[in-house]
Amino acid sequence: MDRSSRPRSRRLAPVVAMAAAAALTLAGCSSSSGGKKAEEEAANASAGKADTPRMTVALVTHQAPGDTFWDTVRKGAEAAAAKDNIKLVYSADPNAGNQANYVQNAIDQKVDGIAVTLAKPDAMKGVIGKAQQAGIPVVGLNSGLSDWKKLGLLEFFGQDESVAGEAFGKKLNTTGAKKIVCVIQEQGNVGLTQRCDGVKKTFQGTTETLYVNGTDMPSVKSTITAKLKQDKSVDTVVTLGAPFALTAVQSAGDAGSKAKVATFDLNKELVKAVQNGTIEFAVDQQPYLQGYLAVDSLWLYKNNGNYSGGGEQPVLTGPAFVDKSNVDKVAEFAAKGTR
């Protein structure tokens, strides 16, 4: 199959393998762009460093391993921790029971503050109560907009998924879309469902839902292709994560469909796609900001007794639209993986 290039490469293989091992241990210093270096530069870009006493903050999320979105949340949290002289303890598990255990773990470590996501609020209720009894301030981020006050959290940073969906639907009305399909990559995820419901509420055309297997890209691609073939009147595909948007573009090509693609959430490849016009627009809930503000707020609370929103209102980090008009500004930050 690839006979022409094999023999040469075979001789190279041991050398390359060694080089690879070296590169992995050095964490890719040889790259001229991107990579570890850019990440460090991004972290160094923060504003000085506080001389307040060292404190420890736990960030406990419901991240699934390998998700680009949560990676950005964590980077924001790390940047704030570096600036505020905070030791950040990060832990995550999509299973609510395990996530609650991590919060308990943080209480046992006697941290100075806990930032937590409330994807399944009921499961977190007990352990959050324990943290409050232990006198540890708890703030919420990302998920749990409707529950953070009930659970007595100090403040909340995030996006209202329904509001974001509604804003998305309104924006779609301006693009002349008539029929859209909303692609959910994880069946049963509350936040994702709220987004699609929000879109449906304000979008004046027809909205249909489609479930795809998010852990298998070829399957995502063929399922969207199938949908576009089944219903030729679909003119816009709405995805709820950046990698799925880029795949949806390929699906439209395969199906011979003229459908456009718009999406929730960003990554650097997506920013490029918005720049060259293959993706219409993206709505961004600014995950970096969520992580940053949650950690920074705990520092402010400890050192100056402040709390954003006065304990009454959440602090909204989105929805912020990224389209051709403002994408260039976003691009330089996205290249560092922080937007």
Binding site: M1, D2, S5, R6, S9, R10, L12, A13, V16, A17, A19, A20, A23, L24, A27, G28, S30, S31, S32, G34, G35, K36, E39, A64, P65, G66, D67, T68, W70, D71, Q187, E208, T209, L210, Y211, N213, T215, D216, M217, P218, S219, K221, S222, T223, A226, K227, K229, Q230, D231, P243, L246, T247, Q250, D254, A255, G256, N267, E269, K272, G337
Partner: protein
């Protein structure tokens, strides 16, 4: 028992196994029944049933390009289901195969990008890594005598963690960088992820590779000594060793074959989507195993075929896409998928029971 049953009907049957072998102890059964007793016939009928069902209920399926799409989905499952099936016939099990696909893609992508070398270098190193993972699995299973379920569960977790940790360490993100503008990308894409035109229908090259690999696997299984070894080590390891079958070699190479499959599908993912997310692949191993089992391979080893999993994978792709083509309420998607698969497996089981009843 299962060994001889499998060896006898080798390819088409009648001419090879002529009447001479009849020694009066077993009556020759009608051709139809003998055909039905083959491991792949049940799944073949199941696949046909599913196909006909969707041809009737989902009009878009009748279109050639829809079939190409279904075959594409089936091929990415099917290419992995083949070595997974061979491994199962050989009496072992690999839970790490789903994430191993992503490990391979991540290796190729990061190596090429970070060292700024021709992507072929990454592709070759990824092959070495994938074969190495397979060899490690096989070696551990043979050496420790632990069930392969446990060993490969360990590898599954190691790879899942390493995929994430190494990617994050090297790229600073949890997804790899876009390598589509690098040297050799176009070439590699031609081999692993291109599309060609058949009578106006765009067909993905993975479909061809799938069929080529299936033909190869069938030939190996039925016509070579290595194929006999696979049945032998899966049927009874100890008696196989006693008659001189190199059990260790056979098992390790079977695991390495799974590694090869993971590499191939991993390369397809990489060259088709340009970047790889490190969290992908989890859960896919069960789909590969399901395709092999639906395809008539026993979970206990020693019995099965290479062509069966082809139909198994096709059935999976057909049901998954068929539901979408039919435009059914997507909330029921997974439930539909489960019901149709169970139904197909039951047809499969019924056919085999009928066929082997005396």
């Amino acid at each position: 028992m299962s060994m001889t049953q499998q060896a006898e009907p080798a390819v088409g049957g009648p001419p090879a196994s002529g009447p001479k072998q009849t020694d009066g102890r077993t009556a020759r059964r009608p051709l139809a029944l003998r055909l039905l007793a083959r491991p792949e016939v049940g799944v073949f009928l199941g696949a046909v049933a599913v196909l006909v069902f969707f041809l009737i209920t989902a009009p878009p399926v009748r279109d050639g390009s829809s079939m190409a799409n279904i075959l594409y989905q089936s091929s990415t499952i099917g290419i992995m289901a083949l070595p997974v099936a061979l491994l199962m016939i050989g009496g072992e099990f690999d839970l790490s195969s789903g994430v191993a696909v992503i490990s391979s893609a991540l290796t190729a992508s990061m190596l090429s990008y970070q060292l700024t070398v021709n992507v072929w270098t990454g592709v070759i190193v990824a092959l070495v890594v994938s074969l190495g993972i397979g060899a490690f699995n096989g070696w551990m299973v043979v050496r420790t005598g632990l069930p392969s379920f446990l060993v490969t569960l360990g590898t599954f977790l190691i790879l899942q963690g390493a995929n994430l940790a190494v990617t994050k360490m090297v790229t600073g993100n949890v997804a790899t960088d876009d390598i589509s503008d690098m040297d050799g990308f176009g070439q590699a894409k031609k081999i692993f992820a291109s599309t060609f035109d058949v009578a106006g229908v765009q067909v993905k090259i993975t479909v061809i590779w799938w069929l080529v690999f299936a033909a190869l696997a069938t030939w190996v299984l039925l016509r070579t000594r290595y194929g006999n070894w696979i049945f032998a080590v899966g049927g009874n390891k100890d008696s196989a060793r006693a008659v001189g079958v190199p059990v260790t070699f056979t098992k390790i190479t079977l695991f390495m074959l799974v590694g090869f499959g993971a590499w191939f599908v991993g390369m397809h993912n990489l060259f088709s989507f340009n970047t790889v997310q490190s969290g992908e692949g989890v859960g896919q191993e069960l789909i590969y195993i399901a395709a092999a089992v639906i395809g008539g391979c026993l979970l206990t080893g020693g019995y099965g075929s290479a062509i069966g999993p082809v139909f198994g994978a096709f059935m999976f792709g057909m049901v998954q896409q068929g539901i979408v083509y039919a435009g059914w309420n997507p909330d029921w998607f997974k439930a539909f998928l489960g019901v149709m698969l169970l139904g197909a497996v039951l047809i499969n089981l019924w056919v085999q029971r009928t066929a082997t009843r005396r």
